[in-house]
Amino acid sequence: VVSQAAFDVGTSRQGAIMIGSAGEITGKLLDAVKALSLDRIFARVDWGGLPTGLVEESIARYATDIAPALRAA
């Protein structure tokens, strides 16, 4: 279970919980790639019992709306 405090940190600009618009998440991930010199990112897309349809929508947004900017960075 995620505490409210951990959730607030995670959903902040420097946090690891990716909830937001594709644009917001792109910005957060670009920050992380830059700050940590990442060469690979895993999105844990189905944690916590998120319904299948929402997981699939998340994967599609990640792969089509967010991926191009990350790959171009």
Binding site: I19, A35, I41, F42, A43, G48, I59, A63
Partner: protein, 268 residues
């Protein structure tokens, strides 16, 4: 160019309406669907975790990934992580080399120490040997990866005398990453291996990961964030001399973040 992937731990949640746990067969079908979708949309890598308790159903990542391999064409396949400390490196190599053969060169292994204690009891090991098990077994795994015929002896498994370990992976070398999470200590230890490291976001903010990264790679090699000051801890691990290939990745969680903070318990 950063590679983009998705990760499932195969957790079994309770249905909000019935209160019953999701069934493994249903979850596996869902996860296969996510992998197929990710492959079709051009994501680069797909990972599953390994757990040995009733809240998760994937205890054998190579088996689950073999099913993914059969339904996908381009996406790379990795564990996140293989609990190497409680496994036989011969078997781990055989399983992932088999996956590499099945997938024609798309398999990778991410090895970790385990964030849970129960695998140690289950497989007959002592958590007091947490670090020694991992160090010895990673050394053997890398020996097996390097050559088909292995002569080896150590504390935690019977010796090998010119033993053949087959099949050989399609890829040479088969990629092996070291999973890191949970503590600055585990980050620091990962730096000793000639492996890339894969980080869990047990740190709540990137800044914390960056500080740990400095511990992994050594001063002046991380993203420019000073390492945290640490209280001295007893030396339980001697890093190998090589410090090459330190690329790294981080799994992002979309729905949970459990900061383990500076707890000294566990890597992944």
């Amino acid at each position: 160019v950063v590679e983009l992937g998705i990760l499932s731990l195969g957790d079994l949640q309770r249905d909000q309406r019935t209160g019953r746990r999701h069934r493994p067969a249903d979850r596996m079908a869902e996860i296969l669907g996510y992998a197929v979708l990710a492959d079709q949309l051009g994501l680069e890598v797909f990972a599953v975790g390994e757990h040995h308790n009733p809240e998760f159903f994937i205890s054998s990542p190579a088996v689950a990934l073999a099913a993914v391999a059969a339904r996908t064409t381009g996406i790379r396949l990795t564990s996140a992580t293989t609990l190497l400390g409680v496994a036989d490196p011969v078997r781990v190599y055989e399983d992932f080399a088999s996956l590499d053969v099945i997938s024609r060169g798309r398999a990778e292994i991410t090895v970790g120490r385990s964030a849970f204690a129960e695998p140690f009891a289950l497989f007959g090991y002592d958590t007091a040997d947490y670090d020694a098990l991992f160090a010895e077994k990673l050394g053997l795994l890398l020996d097996i990866r390097a050559a088909q015929t292995v002569t080896w002896s150590g504390r935690f498994r019977p010796p090998l005398d010119a033993a053949a370990v087959v099949p050989r992976a399609v890829q040479d070398p088969l990629p092996v990453w070291v999973g890191v999470g949970g503590s600055p200590d585990s980050a620091e230890r990962a730096g000793g291996w000639a492996c890339r490291s894969c980080w869990a976001t047990s740190a709540a903010r990137w800044h914390t990961c960056g500080r740990w990264w400095t511990l992994t790679a050594g001063p002046g090699t991380g993203p420019g964030i000073p390492a945290p000051s640490r209280s001295p801890s007893p030396p339980t691990f001697t890093p190998a001399p090589t410090r090459s290939g330190r690329a790294r990745s981080i799994p992002i969680t979309t729905s949970t973040c459990v900061p383990k903070g500076q707890a000294d318990v566990a890597s992944w």
